[in-house]
Symmetry: C2
Subunit: 331 residues, 2 copies
């Protein structure tokens, strides 16, 4: 397949390496000329069969592509989509952004309808963050075993979804079928709100020099993602505001419950009872993968698999079934 | 010095190894006969100069001790103190518990006054948690570079404090002078509340199987200490309830601030501004140690050093000065 990757940061840079290594014809583009030069130099050092090419414009990168992968941060997305429209691209599009509702809406505004029809859009999100960012930190093995949501909303063609799912599973990722809304609600709870909590914890110690000297393991881990650049946290949370507000309200409610426990006549007993659910949940995580099963490649069946915490590891050649895993709690 | 360590878990087990390696005569006791047997076997495998002994009773362990180190969890403290009173111990006491007010009060009730005078009590707390617990996980190097609070309250003899500080600095720890109240307030912010937040985050995802499958780095780190046994979290937080309530209220207030930012007309801009302080604090942590300086060994000078985020690395032989470090922000 001819694939174009737009944006060559950690995810795009890993993806271009992984796809080229699988034998696809891959072209990459980044708005930053220095990143393009680095990506070109890196390609030149690869064996001939695993090389990618780097183009200087979005028009060139998309010209012969069957699939364009948008791998730019949310704030850059609108400009890239405008350039893609201008290029006259008519193939399939997927992306790797952490908020799916905004991306879906941005694509729908520009790239559907009579004026600029594209073959289809399948929103995606690999759960593959890392401390380091940038092309140089990219790694062809980044996606091995990682959960990668592919959105299967009404209006998404099942065939398009299976095309992207096949590509992604071949990189070793676990493809998770979900609707855009399910995705955005889930990542609010397990990624966006954790970023807000890390920031609140860190800020809470800001004035207390003694506390910062005593801070050790629980502070280090609990605040680690507070080191994420505020503009990225803002783009994630602000771009998913409704779901984040809901998840945040739930967490605040739980913390209010801890406050009430501390007000009890026997706070030790009350806090122990309060802490039990979080302890049990963390102890049972991550779940065991269970056994593989053949699952019909139907929209509702796939979405049920995702809602149950399952994922897809291969798409059958005839596209009638996929191999799915349903996790079993290890509690 | 003759030292008795009561409680041979991770901290006590590490301490007995470290003190014996420094040439002290060390005796250990644990309420669990199996732990005593393990500790005896481990001693037998040490070179003769680094061995410790294990006794079967608190009376025996304290009989010839100049210093008793209480290294039992908070719930076990009262029984141990009762046994220490019954043994007629009259030396110096320190401890390694994560809540200092409760321990100070428990000691004061039993071990001061005409009936059971002890030479003195210096509350202590090494910030040296680990995933693993138990004697077998102990490590003589556990305290190298770790911050170790020694409480310097009114009524604590400076000479007693310097005796314990000398012992602890010789193990490579950074001794932080603080009052009991300062300690309890600081650890509420950087340890106790982080445990509550980790638990709330984990519990918040409990019902959502899709979310648990997508959970990756920020969830893993943000919930790590939710794996701590609920009874330990309860003992820490319930035993330090007033300070924890205050720190928890501040964190909830900050999260309410995030909620307001998400309600703004431009939530991306508002969240970016909200996230700036936590980002800056985490980026500047841990602080650089600065340069060593000779500090007079006076109570107020030492407490000022601790309040400024500083620590002590050596006690001068004449006990008139200590070597102190005052951290400089690396922002």
């Amino acid at each position: 397949m001819n694939i174009a990757v737009i944006g060559l940061g950690l995810i795009g840079g890993s993806l271009i390496r992984a796809l080229a290594a699988r034998g696809h014809r891959v072209l990459g583009f980044d708005a930053d000329p220095a990143v393009r030069a680095t990506a070109r130099d890196a390609a030149a050092r690869m064996p001939a069969t695993g090389r990618w090419q780097v183009t200087a414009t979005i028009r060139d990168v998309a010209a012969d592509a069957d699939l364009v992968v948008l791998a730019v941060p949310l704030p850059a997305l609108h400009n890239v989509l405008d350039a893609l429209v201008a290029s006259g691209f008519h193939g399939l599009i997927t992306d790797v952004t952490s908020v799916k509702g905004q991306v879906r809406d941005a694509v729908a505004t520009r790239l559907t309808g009579a004026a600029n029809p594209v073959a289809g859009f399948v929103g995606g999100h690999p759960m593959a963050g890392r401390e380091a960012s940038g092309f140089a930190s990219g790694d062809a093995a980044l996606f091995t075993g990682c959960a990668w949501v592919l959105c299967l909303d009404e209006g998404v063609g099942l065939d398009d979804w299976l095309t992207v799912a096949e590509l992604i599973t071949e990189l070793g990722a676990r493809v998770v079928p979900a609707t855009t809304e399910e995705h955005d609600r889930a990542v609010a709870a397990i990624s966006h709100v954790p970023h807000l909590m890390a920031s609140a914890l860190a800020a809470n110690a800001a004035e207390d020099l003694l506390a910062l000297t005593l801070a050790a393991g629980s502070f280090r881990d609990g605040t680690r993602v507070a080191a994420t650049r505020p503009e990225l946290v803002a783009a994630m949370c602000g771009g998913n505001a409704e779901a984040v507000k809901l998840a945040l309200a739930h967490v605040i409610q739980r913390l209010d419950g801890a406050m009430q426990a501390l007000e009890e006549r026997d706070p030790v007993k009350a806090v122990r009872a309060w802490a039990a659910e979080g302890h049990a949940t963390r102890g049972a995580w991550p779940p065991d993968p269970g056994r593989p099963e053949e699952v019909p490649a139907h929209v509702e069946t796939l979405l049920r698999l995702g809602r149950a915490g399952g994922w897809v590891t291969t798409v059958a050649p005839d596209r009638r079934t996929v191999t799915g895993f349903l996790p079993v709690s290890n509690a």
